[in-house]
Symmetry: C2
Subunit: 498 residues, 2 copies
Amino acid sequence: MSEFSPVKALKSSQVQQWHHEADVVVVGLGGAGVSAALTAANAGADVLVLEIAAAGGGTTALSGGLVYMGGDGGTPVQQACGYGDDSKEEMYNYIMACTGENADEAKVRCYVDNSLDHFKWLTENGVEFKPTFFETKAPQPLTDDGLMFTGNEMAYPFNEKCKPIARGHSPKVEGEAGGAFIMEKLIASLEKTSARIHYSARALSMITNDEGEVAGVVARIDGNAQNIRARKGVVLCAGGFIMNPAMVKKHAPKLSKANLPLGNPGDDGTGIMLGVSVGGAAINMHEGFVTLPYYPPETLIKGIIVNAQGQRFINEDCYHGRTGSYAMEQDKGRVYIICDEETFGYPDEFLGITLLDGAETLEELEKVIDVPEGSLVNTIGLYNKYAEQGIDPVFHKHKKFLKPLKPPYAAFDASLKAAGQGGALYPCFTLGGLDTLPTGEVVREDRTVIKGLYAAGRNTAGLPRTGAGYASGLSIADATFFGRQAGASAAAAEEVTL
Amino acid sequence: MSEFSPVKALKSSQVQQWHHEADVVVVGLGGAGVSAALTAANAGADVLVLEIAAAGGGTTALSGGLVYMGGDGGTPVQQACGYGDDSKEEMYNYIMACTGENADEAKVRCYVDNSLDHFKWLTENGVEFKPTFFETKAPQPLTDDGLMFTGNEMAYPFNEKCKPIARGHSPKVEGEAGGAFIMEKLIASLEKTSARIHYSARALSMITNDEGEVAGVVARIDGNAQNIRARKGVVLCAGGFIMNPAMVKKHAPKLSKANLPLGNPGDDGTGIMLGVSVGGAAINMHEGFVTLPYYPPETLIKGIIVNAQGQRFINEDCYHGRTGSYAMEQDKGRVYIICDEETFGYPDEFLGITLLDGAETLEELEKVIDVPEGSLVNTIGLYNKYAEQGIDPVFHKHKKFLKPLKPPYAAFDASLKAAGQGGALYPCFTLGGLDTLPTGEVVREDRTVIKGLYAAGRNTAGLPRTGAGYASGLSIADATFFGRQAGASAAAAEEVTL
């Protein structure tokens, strides 16, 4: 297939034969793709889906399945759990606080305005949420409870700007199978439509007409390059690029340090390159989610996290993604979790966070983690002085997690080390991709629309924009909601001429 | 001119008339452009230069004019100043340490291998360097001395990895006129060649042949859009994008916080967009140089810098660009410089670093900068304990700058505040642009070459890649050296057919 490349489009005038035709061609059958295809098909479009794997699901199916939803009086689940006072403004402010200067305000506004409708759409398509609350601070519930806090809602500095409101909706299934559950339901819905799905189909290059508008896509199906005419549009939903190390090194070099890529093999950046090949702007490419999910056990949050200077650097009760983002920037990646007998607990063994040793005194503890003499004496001395009073004026950890640390102490090593040197695992994925309008239309650098091209999910830069302000559930919310937007826009588009 | 756009190329088949023709068309007459044009012309090419301003100079002419050069036994200036032991390996290691995971190893290697020759080329074109050393730690010499340390050479962690060797070459002119001096000399050299220069000429869009190869450029000259045929190539040397706030917000959002863009009005990103419009990959777009040049006076380096937690966060003797990069990431941008009677001095008034107050005790000082009670007692207590011994095991400041701080103290506010809120000035410029080979050829995402297109300087992602590891002189070294490379490559290229 060497004559095709995702970075160089084919001209429709060079196409000898169209092997397939459809109104809307969707590339990728993960959370974004299935939502796009389902919406376009239900709008009456003739839809063809190209999925690179032998089955649908994408990275959404590998995830825990949290969906960030709320606003305007709350979803029925929020209402049942006491968060019926949610409002659009509160939700908007929180997502904006999360995404900071990287935010796409128009997308945030659009999602907030339609989030309750999105909850309805998901449930109508079989994705159920149980109206019960999961209390523990954890990356996700392992119960079938339907609602939880999913980010930094309760933590500084977010709690200064926004009222803490739970918006993390977890599908009604136990364990980590929430994402698979969502995909199973949505694909089942799609299969009831007229949409055709080609599995093991890899998109190779875009096809453009003489005006540079997108008229189709070349894909390898059954081992052969086939030209697929998209009369109304191609919707790129082919994921991010965390599985393409060269692309990560080039566009998100800081993520090269993180050592556990989260994704499926299809997250190789092809979808982004395809969009760029026809003039799409790729933005936020340097950003990613990097995490250090050192809790549960929740008790460890009552410990402190220090760096090579023996200093704290973050409120330990913030979201694990925020902790990870800060941790990886510490000098030489050196990060230690300090606890005492009362707060001791082992983090998930899988994560490579290792118990170093116990210590009877702070001086001993300094030796255990090899920080300057006197540094922990200072740090823990000050922390304890304020914890006695139930306050943390230095890093603003919530009083729920404050207690003075007393001997004997213990230290875990959560350092991010170079490849092959051991150290903790820092899972990560990318947050950059094609720039799109809230409609799902892909835009050029000057934000003019590329006719015939749409995108959603991690193929785009969507709602979540930073690791330091990530909230679980933002990615699936973004993928499924803006997948629907893209599918609707493509189905309603006028035909792209050849 | 609304029918032309830097993000959409014109097809040569649509060109009715070629208003100008040349072998090599250079866009921009700053450090990169003049070097490209001069080299191409001296190689026998028919060269046409398009400069948007009424005169040449670009951002290089606004700069202090430091050029980072050395390696392999040293330049004559290095030799005269006792740095004749410089080597390619040491220089390579230092630049790689500066650029970290963002580095382009091939470019670094190419520059190191040819740096002494580049010194020769500059001097042959009239850019003289006096063989004397400037000792003071400062952003640049205000004398006509020819050599200085220009970055983090003496500072942790660079001094752990590399032997400190001075490579900052300052042109033989007093004050801040070094950049203007370089441009004056190089433009004078260019004017001796057959190259034609059009001033007040704005590049509007690229022109490509049916293969997508670059065949020319549309420019507005004398108020009219004119089609310019480039037989061998177009060399984009049109600068960075710090003067385009929308582009900064989109591609380098963190730089939106910095409040003093350094550049000329032409640094509006047009050159990068033009390259992207024909398939060029833009990389490192999120990175920039952000600085807090709080010294001179050098004496302040013997003070400490703390954040809202009352903690130090950097060795205060590192390069001001590194300090700035770290400072802007502190909680709420809060940064304070603490000194005592012996180390007191006023930073340059222009920078907006304001004296808050003096204090007789550490407790008073905590109130002056509004940090938690006990925090500065800890920080300064530990700092002083070690400074007495001439060591800083916490942040590794060089012993030359260590002395215990004694009452009375004084505090300056160097915080980065929101627009309109006052605060210190944080000058900045962008470090992202087109991806190029060491030859100056622009490449696509898959690193295949775009025939007919070359670029150099801040139009590209060059040698300097991060603010935290920047060294003064890297940008002009990069612009002038890779400008030469691009000019030579374009002059030697075969003709691009129409």
